[in-house]
């Protein structure tokens, strides 16, 4: 038998906030249009982070335990909770800092425990960015 819960707000049992609420990995939510459904857990962003590559330092993040400086413009984000595999989708952008210097974000050498972001510039080199952001969607382990 299927069941349906109609609510306006989800908080934890203590009523102090939503951070302790657990959602099963097959839960679906009714979509904005009111007809289709979308998987809640698959739709959650699994990692995000904003970093200063010059320092380098994590300015703020979710599910990121550490940052490793691999080289100019290239850093590895280590996940707190690992992904299920390396087949996730991560994307990001970086501060341009100079009009003449194009900024492209590429990924490489990703695995289930960490991702690598790289900031390319238009002349083929790489550079550190004062602000760089990454978002990761996919399956947690």
């Amino acid at each position: 038998m299927t069941s349906q819960l109609n609510v306006d707000t989800i908080v934890d049992k203590a009523g102090s906030g939503g951070t302790n609420v657990k959602v099963a990995n097959n839960a679906v939510a009714v979509a904005e249009g009111g007809s289709a459904t979308t998987n809640v857990v698959q739709g959650l962003v699994k990692q995000w982070g904003r970093i200063n590559q010059d320092t380098p330092a994590i300015l703020d993040s979710f599910n990121s335990s550490s940052l490793t400086d691999i080289g100019t413009g290239t850093h590895r984000f280590v996940f707190t909770n690992n992904m299920g595999n390396a087949n996730y989708a991560c994307s990001g952008m970086a501060q341009a800092e100079a009009v003449a210097r194009g900024t492209q974000y590429t990924n490489s050498s990703n695995n289930s425990t960490s991702l690598v972001e790289r900031i390319d510039i238009e002349d083929g080199g790489t550079r550190d960015a004062g602000n760089s952001a990454t978002i990761t969607c996919g399956d947690l382990a």
Binding site: Q4, V7, T9, V28, E32, G34, N87, A89, E122, D139
Partner: protein
């Protein structure tokens, strides 16, 4: 004592597709549906293109060198959604990722291009796309 509520579908009372979740700061709320990624995909864009893993993606098509279309299982409500992507460099000196020149985003899919520094399309073996916005 922890409590577990088991349901198959979460639906808003006032609006079916709108659930508020209390934010991390314990004061404001954020919309559950709007905060979910509606599509994400990781695919191999070289030779025989193939999806490695995805959410709400029905298929991908090879539209030419470095050119792909990702189709959705459940359509978006409009074309005004946010798409972002990245790809591996694949040994190129510089690469770009963009939707195509005509902003070919429809409610049922999006076209994307991976290109080198001369704007020549190049196939890449890891193309990663995420879509946020409203489902139909």
């Amino acid at each position: 004592m922890a409590s577990i509520l088991k349901v198959d579908t979460i639906t808003g009372v006032s609006t079916a597709g709108s659930i508020a979740v209390t934010g991390e700061g314990n004061s404001t709320t954020t919309n559950l549906q709007q905060g979910l990624a509606k599509v994400w995909i990781n695919f191999d864009g070289q030779s025989t293109i193939a999806t490695r893993d995805s959410h709400n993606s029905s298929s991908i098509s090879d539209d030419g060198t470095g050119q792909y279309t990702t189709s959705y299982t459940s359509n978006m409500a409009s074309v005004s959604y946010a798409a972002s992507g990245s790809h591996n460099r694949n040994g190129l000196s510089s690469t770009t990722f963009s939707n195509d020149s005509s902003w070919a985003a429809t409610t049922s899919g999006i076209a994307s291009i991976t290109a080198d520094s001369t704007n020549t399309g190049r196939d890449c073996d890891a193309v990663l796309i995420s879509i946020l916005g409203d489902l139909a």
